[in-house]
């Protein structure tokens, strides 16, 4: 009783917490992560642990420099989410300095130089990924071949060798190769889709071997987020619909000029991770329902355009960043009509 400063209403609360939101997102990453681990081996876990540790340390350091309570801000787990998303996007045989550079860019530059959580206009994980892709294109596009293709993933010791940038046996090239999307892009114009599918082992049932299951895993996790009402359906639906529609338009009946079927694109590369986990980052996405639909469709369209006509095999990171730039404008033009106001 007798508080000096009476509290403002409301006095009750639903009990949700930002940390819980972040933890749910992490939990929803589990199926996709498990699939990645299964198909690409220990490198996935090494990336996850390394980047998470770095992200927490960097977040703490920045909070010390900004003279903020360190533990209070670490406990929102936003840095962990950024680290996990970046780690899941990185190739699983990357040297330690690549991850360090990426997370440094993500946490320090993309997040805290813009004001910290909630103030960053660009998705930190994708900003870090894009910076790496531009600065180090070679290691960033050197993906391990999935387990379904090689039947021989690097063991833990080899994975650590790759991590420590010690290619002692000179056999990293034996494990790596172009991803399904990359190969598909390279053969464009040479073969019918069906011929290509038979000529290479990197293609699976509907999409890239292994990748289709990774995407299925992230789809499953994404549906969990929808069920838990952590995210709304607008961004993923806009994102996936745009990819599917554009892919259908440019499918060309599976000719040599085809850019691939909708199903191939939906389950290839970072589609599902992008649709449910990255594009839905609320800080950098549009806010209203209509705006989110537009934002999702815009980023999805750019993903397809980059895949089909760009220089990179996948385009989720750049699509998200370009979408982020459009967010203020989308927000400006999609404000919902206030109750009692004429449209």
């Amino acid at each position: 009783m007798n508080n000096l400063q009476p509290l403002s209403s409301p006095h009750g609360h639903a009990g949700s917490k930002t940390s819980q939101v972040m933890l749910q997102v992490l939990l929803a990453c589990v199926p996709g992560t498990a699939a990645l681990w299964f198909f690409f081996g220990y490198g996935v876990l090494i990336n996850l642990v390394w980047l998470t540790a770095l992200a927490v340390a960097l977040e703490a350091l920045v909070m010390l420099l900004r003279k903020r309570p360190v533990l209070f801000y670490l406990r929102d787990y936003s840095a962990v989410v950024t680290a996990v998303l970046l780690a899941l996007a990185l190739p699983p045989a990357t040297p330690w300095w690549l991850g360090l550079t990426g997370i440094l860019f993500a946490i320090v530059i993309a997040k805290h130089l813009f004001g910290g959580l909630g103030c960053n206009p660009f998705n930190p994980a994708m900003a870090g990924y894009a910076a790496l892709l531009i600065a180090y294109p070679a290691p960033m596009t050197r993906w391990l071949l999935p387990q379904a293709v090689t039947h021989a993933l690097p063991d833990l010791a080899t994975a650590f060798d790759f991590f420590l940038d010690r290619d002692v046996h000179g056999h990293i090239d034996a494990f790596t190769g172009a991803t399904a999307l990359d190969k598909f892009r390279q053969q464009h114009g040479a073969q019918l889709v069906s011929e290509f599918w038979q000529s290479t082992k990197v293609m699976g049932q509907w999409s890239g071997a292994g990748w289709e299951w990774v995407n299925a895993g992230f789809l499953y996790g994404g549906l969990y987020l929808l069920y838990k009402k952590i995210i709304t359906w607008h961004i993923p639906v806009g994102f996936l619909l745009a990819i599917a529609i554009l892919a259908a338009l440019f499918y060309d009946g599976g000719s040599s000029q085809s850019h691939g079927s909708p199903l191939m694109h939906l389950f290839a590369g970072g589609t599902m991770l992008g649709a449910f986990f990255i594009a839905t980052d609320p800080v950098t996405a549009a806010t209203s329902s209509k705006g989110r639909l537009i934002y999702g469709a815009l980023t999805g369209s750019i993903v397809f355009v980059i895949r089909a006509f760009g220089a990179y095999p996948d385009g989720v990171a750049f699509a998200i960043l370009i979408g982020n730039m459009a967010v203020p404008m989308i927000d400006r033009f999609t404000r919902p009509r206030t109750f009692g106001h004429s449209p």
Binding site: N2, H13, Q20, V21, G118
Partner: protein
């Protein structure tokens, strides 16, 4: 009887907080014990000065007029019990502003002498003006929320509305005063509705009640024999009982911002108001008591009480078995829009529908706010379709123009946004502050415009005077130039005038001298 499932319109947003109404609905409405002292607020709407009808030391009878409005709209206040007026002073009351209000303090005695009641009216054969006058004489204000004098609201609705909406939703958690009133006195409440229909000339009365109140619904249904009364059961959702939201849910009419429901042919009154109107018209009783929910985990027994206006909260809490060791906060109203009170010495007013004596476990103080992650949960629950996450930035950075462009003024303070905010940001507090800033900026603009107007008028006046002087001078010059031939005669005339003026000056000086000398003398 009621019509078969009438159409409802769905309101946007909303939340489903735990109702917590059963605690206070265990028994009948109890009559609160007469406290030794009553502190009756007599402040008038719009801060008009009250016209006091009693003086300190006077003995008053129950129902005697204490004060009334000196100008429209006034609100009469009556003595809730017999006793002696010991003070007329400013006293803190449960209110948003926290500004003390003028109160008449009555030391009650057990004599229970009663002022003669007003004559009973047969409302079917009484004209609207007389009925409105009765509502005014009984000192009835809206008992739901804003507390605007009921007779003013009725006057403004006269012959303008076709629909009367009875707000029986009571959608905020903990509050069960209206529900208890309906369970026990549905017939009187419905009589109040019929009187309000008679006054306004409205053709139907839509009674909006949440489906979470089955007992009250059946009580209403069993007494709503008049075909004009339609009991409309709406899904429980906070804040479905906000006036404009309820009107939309029941009628599909969206009251445009800036206009009032009566402009759209709808008048909305609360259950408690209808009850008070029925008592005033059919029994000649003035409003000296109301039903108030006394609840919260710090009490041994929560209940609804019929409370005399002016009863100190401490007296009510004591009757409910307050455990002071458990009490963390005292809230007037519900947990979502209620006001935290500084102490229990404040009196019950005509607007006090609920008092929550809460513990730290029941309604914990919020943890420090985290960063806004723009998750948009607030926008999903906003009943007005505002974007609280955007408004929050504007409020924080004092971008008033942006806040206004995003319709901050339409915010109804319902608190749904802050209730769901995972970062525990006190959004309502930010919005209230920004709204106050908007009002202040508006006042400042008005003052500036007024000053500018005055300055410009002054400039114009000066300029026109100058122009007039110039014109006269020019006229004189031209006149002088036109009569050069008469120079001699005019100069002699001028000399004469000068001599005359000098003579006058000398004469005045001579007259002044003795007077000045007199002034210097010391007074006799």
């Amino acid at each position: 009887m009621t019509s078969a499932t009438p159409k409802l319109w769905n309101c946007a947003g909303g939340i489903h907080p735990p109702a917590n109404k059963q605690q206070s609905l265990q028994g009948c409405i109890r009559t609160a014990v007469l406290p030794p002292q009553l502190i009756v607020p007599v402040t008038q709407p719009l801060n008009n000065p009250p016209q006091l009808c009693v003086h300190i030391g006077e003995r008053v009878h129950k129902g005697q007029l204490l004060a009334q409005g000196s100008s429209h709209p006034g609100l009469a206040a009556h003595a809730p019990a017999a006793g002696k007026v010991t003070a007329i002073t400013e006293h803190q009351v449960p209110g948003m502003s926290g500004v003390p209000e003028l109160c008449v303090v009555i030391d009650t005695d057990a004599t229970d002498t009663t002022w003669p009641k007003l004559p009973v009216l047969d409302y079917l054969h009484t004209d609207s003006d007389a009925l409105i006058q009765r509502v005014a004489d009984a000192g009835i204000s809206g008992l739901g929320g804003a507390g605007y004098p009921a007779h003013s609201k009725l006057q403004s609705a006269l012959h303008k509305v076709d629909t009367l909406v009875l707000n029986a939703t009571e959608c905020e958690p903990y509050i069960s005063a209206d529900e208890a009133l309906l369970q026990q006195h549905a017939e009187t409440v419905l009589n109040g509705c019929l009187i309000l229909l008679q006054i306004t000339g409205a053709t139907r009365c839509l009674i909006g009640i949440e489906d979470s109140k089955p007992q009250a619904i059946s009580a209403l249904r069993s007494h709503a024999y008049d075909p004009r009364l339609q009991v409309m059961v709406i899904p429980a959702l906070y804040p479905s009982g906000a006036e404009r939201q309820l009107i939309y849910t029941l009628t599909g009419k969206e009251i445009p911002t800036g206009s009032w429901p009566v402009d759209c042919g709808v008048l909305c009154h609360n259950v408690g108001t209808a009850f008070a109107v029925a008592r005033a018209v059919m029994h000649g009783e003035v409003l000296v008591s109301r039903v108030t929910t006394i609840t919260g985990a710090a009490l041994a027994q929560a209940a609804n009480y019929e409370v005399l206006i002016g009863t100190p909260l401490a007296s009510l809490l004591q009757q409910s078995g307050l455990d002071t060791t458990k009490l963390s906060r005292l809230i007037s109203g519900g947990p979502l829009m209620g006001i935290e009170l500084p102490h229990a010495g404040l009196p019950v007013t005509k607007l006090t529908n609920c008092i929550i004596a809460t513990t730290g476990q029941e309604l914990p103080t919020p943890p420090p706010a985290q960063a806004c992650i723009r998750c948009g949960y607030c926008a999903q629950v906003c009943p007005i379709h505002l974007l609280p996450q955007q408004l929050y930035w504007f409020a924080r950075s004092h971008e008033l123009e942006q806040a206004q462009a995003h319709n901050l003024k339409d915010c109804i303070d319902c608190g749904a946004c802050a209730y769901v905010c995972p970062s525990h940001i006190p959004l309502v507090q930010y919005f209230r502050a920004a709204k106050a800033e908007l009002v202040q900026a508006h006042d400042q603009r008005l003052r500036a415009a007024h000053s500018k107007q005055r300055f410009e008028a002054h400039q114009q006046r000066v300029a026109s005077e100058l122009a007039l002087t110039e014109q006269r001078r020019a006229e004189r010059t031209t006149l002088a130039k036109q009569q050069p031939a008469t120079t001699n005669s005019s100069s002699t005339a001028a000399q004469d005038a000068v001599a005359a003026a000098l003579a006058r000056v000398h004469a005045r000086k001579a007259a002044l001298k003795p007077a000045a000398a007199d002034n210097k003398d010391p007074p006799p």
